[in-house]
């Protein structure tokens, strides 16, 4: 494992250092003293690369990433996994707004809460099914315009009195599935989705995902009571089909 000390290094140089390591064949890198440097992992493509990040990485962590695994030993900021194609991001803490925007594949595991507009525009395509699991709670516009993939919101790691999701959850959603480990009142939901209880096939789908989430984050949570979960799926893949005349 190669060590990179990010102390006092501007993001541009830091990312250049990381890319140079990868070009020279390094598969595992540990970046220490990270304080808000942006775009770490941005556009990296090697599926065997693992990057351990100590400290708080800056915005757009792993934007356009296609392969590597990022392990963040702290909180993350906005834009984690922006338009990511494949790979894995593990965040041992909270993350900010717009996590997984337009994500088409790969996995994002966040231990605690996330901000607004998380999982928006997520897409699934052929064998690509993006997966995001959030251990805590989420803000408004969760899963907005979601077009594919799987998002799981557990509300298990943060003991908070606020609702598990904010307003306009799944507004404009037209593909994919959202699982929430708590009943959500209809007033929080976009009119494009319907609420269901879980079936056997959902449990079969979720069990390995949740196990991986727990083992990657190295925590144990009592989250396997599937009767507590709800599932949101869109009523139509064409939510706005009848709005226009020629």
């Amino acid at each position: 494992m190669k060590l990179i000390n990010a102390k006092g290094v501007y993001y541009k140089q830091l990312n250049e250092m990381i890319r140079a390591e990868i070009r020279s064949g390094t598969k595992e890198i540990k970046v220490t003293n990270v304080v808000g440097q942006r775009y770490i992992g941005g556009g990296l493509e090697d599926g065997d690369v693992k990057i351990h990040i100590e400290g708080v990485p800056g915005e757009d962590l792993a934007a356009f990433m296609d392969g590597p695994t990022l392990n963040v030993r702290n909180n993350a900021q906005d834009g984690v996994g922006n338009t990511m194609n494949s790979g894995k991001i593990i965040v041992h803490g909270m993350a900010g707004d717009v996590i997984g925007y337009g994500m088409r594949g790969g996995k994002i595991y966040i231990r605690d809460d996330v901000g607004y507009r998380v999982g928006i525009h997520m897409k699934g395509y052929l064998d690509k099914v993006p997966v995001m699991v959030i251990g805590g709670r989420a803000g408004d516009f969760f899963g907005e315009y979601m077009a594919g993939g799987i998002v799981v919101l557990l509300g298990a790691t943060t003991n908070n009195s606020k609702p598990i999701v904010g307003d306009y959850c799944a507004a404009g959603m037209h593909g994919g599935t959202i699982y929430i480990r708590e009943e959500v009142e209809d007033r929080f939901l976009g009119k494009e989705v319907k609420k269901f209880s879980l079936e056997k096939k959902d449990e079969k789908l979720l069990t390995p995902i949740l196990n991986e989430f727990l083992s990657d984050l190295d925590i144990s949570l009592d989250i396997f009571d599937f009767s507590r979960y709800i599932k949101l799926i869109p009523v139509s893949s064409r939510p706005y089909g009848r709005m226009y005349v020629y």
Partner: protein
């Protein structure tokens, strides 16, 4: 039996008009067929994509449901005996300068459906054209003109951020920014596969390669067939992020963030599920048949700082090898917005005027939102110069460029390069029928129906686009020569070469040009 008895019309094979047919009984166009010339070849029946023309074998007549005709001219052109003439229907309503067909026609449709009226192409309202109120200078006696046929004339230009200081050249502090070279100051406008046919897109891509210029993928991804042309591709990133990946960003000459579109500023795009065919699904990387929704805001961009974040996310992902462009619609505060965009790190800024085309937009928005390209362009160039940041970004002007004269005027107003969209479609046979949103383009341009698509072979689209740009380039050279200039770059922002005719003082000031005769 009297004609008006119940059932009588039906028994005679006639339709009983209903009140709701009001609109449909007032067609816009009439398909007039000279029966003496018609040889019943039925070509027109097969060619019309809009269910206008039918054949009745019992009576051996070709007849038309005139209200369906959109005047796309396909049948007129294809009829082997020139028996068809499309005419305006009747005298229209009683003359009325306030209520035009565009108003009452839409109101009828909406009364039928309660829906938003969609349309294609660009704003066709009779707003004044500033292009038409500007004339070009020519050299006489004191400053000799140049003969482009016998003297070198340079149309090439570099697109991207330029260096800070010429003196720094070669020094360590000198920073080089990626630039892309256009051999002609004309590139093809963003048009996405889905909105346009793959054949047309391939044609433009191949034409761009041969001409040494660029085509723009639009926001619908890069089809694998276009990979041979990737060095001439400007790839777009819009709010839906269709087909966007690291590889996509690298399969390009430049990357473009789409914020707005001149035809529909402030609103998003929406490719309806029925148009998401297998090929389009592959290119956009979304399942077949699902809606492709790209809302107006990119939900990670709420400020100039957020825009900077995305610009640099792209620069990082491409390791600073691609210029990053930001495309906005021309709106009221365009100059201030442009300044922010340049400061956010954009290497190219695209200003799309309100005449710009679209594959589909609500008609009310296409016709009433945004400002003319000419004033927006002048304002942006002026502002960037005043703030001494003009060198930090190239300006691409688009939205309503109709001829080489418009190209020259746009460059004199401050553009580096222009994008042509509608003009490129014209080269492929577009008849400006404004039905692009229906996906049935009779000329194979804005459709993906295999039978219609086949009407536009790639080679033909390519050759004709090349010819158009070559023709325009020759004219641009002539115009440069007569102004005494020998390179397109010395025309850029050279507003002394323009004069206004019939403009107010304020308009002249806004355009930064002088009155003719002064």
């Amino acid at each position: 039996m009297y004609y008006e008895e119940p059932g009588a019309r039906e028994s005679l094979g006639l339709r009983t008009p209903k009140h709701e047919d009001l609109f449909h009984s007032h067609p816009e166009y009439k398909v007039e067929r000279d029966d003496a010339k018609c040889i019943r070849c039925l070509c027109c029946v097969r060619q019309c994509p809009y269910e206008t023309t039918f054949y009745d074998p019992m009576r051996n007549v070709v007849y038309d449901v005139h209200s369906n005709c959109v005047n796309c001219k396909r049948c007129e052109v294809m009829c082997p005996t020139q028996a068809i003439e499309i005419k305006k229907w009747g005298c229209g309503f009683r003359e009325n300068h306030h209520w035009k067909f565009r108003d009452y026609g839409a109101a009828y449709k909406q009364s039928d459906t309660g829906a938003v009226v969609l349309t294609g192409l660009g704003n066709d309202n009779p707003y004044m054209s500033y292009f038409d109120r500007m004339v070009l200078d020519a050299s006489q006696v004191t400053n000799p003109s140049i003969d482009p046929l016998r003297e070198p004339m340079e149309l090439r230009t570099y697109i991207g951020r330029k260096m800070e200081n010429l003196e720094d050249f070669g020094k360590e502090s000198f920073q080089e920014y990626p630039n892309i070279l256009a051999e002609v100051p004309i590139a093809f406008a963003p048009m996405s596969f889905g909105a346009i046919s793959l054949n047309f897109q391939k044609g433009m891509a191949a034409a761009a390669q041969e001409l040494g210029t660029f085509f723009n993928t639009g926001e619908g991804g890069l089809h694998e067939d276009l990979l041979p042309y990737k060095d001439n591709a400007i790839v777009q990133v819009a709010s839906g992020r269709f087909g966007v990946s690291k590889r996509y960003l690298m399969n390009s000459a430049a990357c473009e963030i789409k914020i707005g579109q001149g035809a529909k500023p402030g609103i998003g795009g929406h490719l309806p599920g029925e148009k998401v065919t297998a090929e389009i699904s592959k290119t956009r990387m979304i399942p077949e048949g699902s809606d492709a929704i790209s809302p107006a805001p990119q939900h990670d961009i709420y400020s100039i700082e957020d825009l900077r974040l995305l610009i640099y996310a792209i620069k990082e992902a491409t390791e600073y090898t691609r210029p990053v462009s930001v495309k906005i619609a021309a709106v009221h505060n365009v100059a201030a917005i442009a300044s922010g965009i340049v400061r956010a790190g954009a290497d190219i800024i695209v200003v799309d005027g309100f005449r710009g085309g679209t594959g589909a937009a609500p008609k009310i928005i296409r016709d009433h939102v945004g400002i003319p390209l000419e004033v927006a362009l002048a304002a942006v160039d002026e502002r960037l110069r005043r703030e001494k940041i003009r060198h930090m970004a190239s300006i691409i002007a688009t939205g309503g460029i109709r001829s080489s004269a418009d190209v020259v005027k746009a460059i004199a107003l401050g553009a580096d390069v222009v994008y042509i969209g509608t003009a490129a479609m014209l080269s492929a046979g577009c008849t400006l029928c404004q039905q692009c949103h229906r996906g049935k383009c009779a000329w194979g341009i804005t459709t993906n129906r295999p039978d219609l698509l086949a009407r536009l072979p790639v080679e033909m689209a390519k050759e004709r686009a090349i010819n158009l740009v070559k023709g325009w380039s020759r004219e641009v050279k002539e115009m440069l020569g007569l102004m005494g200039l020998n390179s397109i770059e010395s025309l850029r922002g050279n507003r002394l070469k323009l004069r206004g005719v019939g403009l107010t003082k304020l308009e002249l000031e806004t355009l930064g040009i002088r009155q003719a005769g002064v």
